[in-house]
């Protein structure tokens, strides 16, 4: 008894089931392998088609499936706006289509951005009954299927134009209204506003309301406060929103195609037309160009939005 009192007993080691430990570690290892495999497959399906597209846009052959050397010919064809000739596929009008895309993109972006800025300011600043409902309505275009929106726009313009052509145009001898640049631009403005508002609103919500108060406190009236404080602080978001809108306009096919008239081929509509005759290297080249332009524009847009968040306050 005296001995046990002098030598303190060691605490017993915890009872660990080493079999269970090994089993759990094996599960973890398997899980890790699966994660890596899953990511690899996902990225492969995301990017492999695009890589193939880009590679074959430099392929020195009409054949779509066999690599026969490097060429820039298809890009030259596009920029030469080649009509018929040696190449079977009519790259004719590619440059015209690109020009149309840019005209429509720039005009619709300008209109959408101005409207969206005003709308974002109103939605953030003012409280009115039914505000959340009005808010929800704004995002509807983001949610509803594009085809439905395209159809509704076609119908809308048909009704208005039919009425106008039958009444005003007929009686006053004015030219008939038809689908064309105007209708495409209106369509693009409609689906772009929501996106631009979202970007500008985020910035506005982040903005310290004391800044505008400080400006008014220092003697600036409402207009001076807007031009000297609010607008400069919103500018990164406005530019980011505009770049996003321009990209969406450039990339849109469905609404553009439905609202287009004679001579208003945009790049997407043009590519779609070519596709009916099968894939050609020119399509690869145009698509590659569009991918590059979109990535650059969206990249700048995201950079500006990121800087917003960083230096906002």
């Amino acid at each position: 008894m005296a001995q046990t009192a002098l030598t303190p007993s060691l605490p017993t080691a915890p009872d660990i089931d080493m079999g269970a430990v090994r089993r759990d570690m094996a599960i973890r290892r398997t899980g890790k392998v699966f994660y890596v495999f899953n990511a690899a497959v996902t990225y492969f399906f995301l990017w492999a088609p695009i890589v193939v597209l880009i590679v074959f846009s430099f392929n020195d052959s009409r054949s779509v499936a066999r690599w026969e050397g490097f060429t820039l010919q298809w890009y030259q064809n596009i920029f030469a706006n080649v009509t018929g000739g040696a190449s079977r596929a009519a790259t004719s009008g590619a440059l015209d289509a690109l020009g149309n895309s840019f005209i429509i993109g720039i005009i619709s972006t300008l209109i959408a951005t101005v409207l969206a800025t005003a709308l974002a300011l109103a939605l953030v600043r003012f409280r009115f009954p039914g505000k959340s409902f009005i808010d929800g309505l704004l995002y509807l275009p983001v949610v509803i299927p594009e085809i439905a929106q395209a159809v509704s726009l076609v119908l809308f313009f048909s009704v208005i134009f039919d009425f106008y052509n039958a009444t005003l145009a007929a009686s006053l001898g004015l030219p008939n209204a038809n689908r064309g640049f105007g209708t495409i631009i209106v369509g693009h403005v409609v689906f772009n506003i929501a996106f631009v508002v979202v970007v500008i609103r985020a910035r506005l919500a982040d903005m310290n309301p004391r800044l505008e108060e400080a400006a008014r406190d220092l003697g600036a009236n409402e207009w001076q406060t807007f031009t000297r404080i609010t607008l400069p602080l919103l500018m990164p978001a406005i530019v980011a929103g505009a770049l996003l809108a321009f990209t969406l306009s450039l990339d849109d096919y469905l609404i553009t195609a439905y609202l287009s008239g004679p001579g208003t081929n945009t790049l997407t509509v043009f590519v779609f037309g070519l596709m009916r005759r099968g894939i050609s290297p020119e399509i690869n080249a145009i698509s590659t160009l569009m991918i590059v332009i979109s990535i650059v524009l969206i990249g700048i847009s995201m950079m500006l939005q990121g800087r917003n968040a960083a230096g906002g306050k």
């Binding site: 004391r210 400080a214 008014r216 406190d217 000297r228």
Partner: protein, 400 residues
């Protein structure tokens, strides 16, 4: 502060007359929150005036109404006798230093300070010159082409001050401008701000929840609670003669003892502690308090003192006297109250020791005794019998 030689009997600069401000409560149609509840105040020309109160007491709302960012629900706000109801902020002769400074992030320091002058139509070169002078006045030791975010909190604070002062406002409104600074810098800025105010002679209205800050800097303080102004007065008046339990509690440390008013004589009253036969004389906060009313005695721990009930009393000069002799001497002054008790606990905090003394078996008072000598000279032990004494003028009788 010897430098202060203000004439504060001048004109009224800012006046609030029965000002009420109510806010809608979100999602509750019939409930309105009253942030400012019938406040009337007069702030004199050239005064450093502090609005002091806990957060949510309505002090910032009042400042924002003077600035013009909020409209009073009812009542009037006048600046130099002129009603301000329909005057927008940019036409009011006041400028604000915001709590978070609200410096324009896209402008340089100099552009920030120039902004107010440009809005007045001062030409660029003149504005730049005056802005540079203002920055010199606030002693900003950095290049004025820096952006605000490149400055420290203290430096941003100085820019905000320069930006407002360059406009030479009639009244400068400051919304907790020192709140974000660390303690040491805050102490420095308190003195600097007070000096600057004296030099410029501009009326300062200063919002703070820090009682020490208000006591240090202000000529007069308005203590607020739940949208109401409870007391307006100089720091000495507020501290030494609080008119309500809230004011006594919020500013400084106070021990409250419940009792009953048994006798009145002019400014003084006699209060019997609840549940005891102890009766002491104290200053009435209101001479209209009825006899036999339940009252509260407000006792400041540093204004009362104690000595051992048995043995000798030691004095700071090293001499000592018998406790009985000392007590008899004190009793000759009719304004001195002496109450017996015992030490319940002692709390040594360096400069002084705080003793909790139980008196009459039911009540505890806290006594702060300065440790002028070595600790053994002044210390009392737990359970020791002591006499607590105070001058009737230093203890206040408050209604509840």
């Amino acid at each position: 502060m010897a430098a202060k030689a203000k004439n504060l009997d001048g004109a009224i600069d800012v006046e609030l007359r029965h000002v009420i401000k109510e806010f809608d409560v979100p999602r509750k149609d019939n409930v309105r929150f009253r942030a400012v509840d019938d406040v009337s105040l007069q702030i004199r020309d050239g005064e450093f005036f502090a609005l002091l109160g806990p957060s949510g007491c309505g002090k910032t709302t009042m400042l924002r109404m003077i600035a013009g960012f909020e409209m009073a629900t009812s009542g009037e706000i006048l600046i130099r006798g002129k009603a301000m109801q329909d005057v927008p902020p940019f036409h009011r002769p006041v400028n604000t230093v915001f709590q978070d400074y609200a410096l324009f992030p896209h402008m340089s320091v100099l552009q920030n300070v120039m902004f107010g002058l440009e809005m007045e139509g001062v030409d660029k070169r003149e504005a730049a010159k005056r802005a540079a002078e203002a920055l010199e006045m606030v002693q900003l030791p950095v290049a004025s082409d820096r952006k605000p975010r490149q400055l420290s909190g203290g430096q941003q604070q100085r820019v905000a001050l320069a930006r407002a002062l360059v406009k030479r406002p009639q009244v400068l409104l400051l919304d907790e401008p020192l709140g974000a600074l660390d303690l040491k810098l805050r102490k420095e800025m308190q003195i600097e701000l007070a000096n600057m105010q004296t030099e410029l002679g501009i009326t300062f209205v200063f919002v703070t929840h820090d009682q020490e800050e208000a006591l240090t800097m202000a000529d007069r303080i308005a203590v607020m609670s739940l949208g109401k102004v409870l007391q307006v007065g100089t720091p000495e008046e507020i501290y030494d003669a609080p008119n309500s339990r809230f004011v006594a509690d919020f500013i400084g440390e106070t021990v409250f003892l419940p009792g009953c008013l048994t006798r009145k004589d002019g400014m003084f009253g006699w209060v019997q502690f609840d549940g005891t036969t102890i009766e002491t004389k104290a200053a009435l906060s209101d001479t209209n308090i009825a006899l036999n009313a339940n009252v509260t005695l407000a006792v400041r721990p540093e204004k009362i003192n104690l000595f051992a009930a048995d043995g000798n009393v030691k004095f700071p000069d090293g001499s000592s006297d018998s406790a009985e002799v000392y007590k008899t001497g004190l009793r000759r002054d009719p304004d001195i109250n002496i109450v017996e008790g015992y030490i319940k606990s002692a709390n040594y905090i360096g400069t002084d020791t705080r003793y909790t003394v139980n008196v009459g078996g039911q009540h505890d008072v806290v006594v702060r005794v300065q440790n002028y000598g070595l600790r053994s000279d002044t210390s009392f032990t737990q359970g020791q019998r002591v006499n607590v004494f105070w001058d009737a003028e230093t203890v206040r009788v408050l209604t509840q």
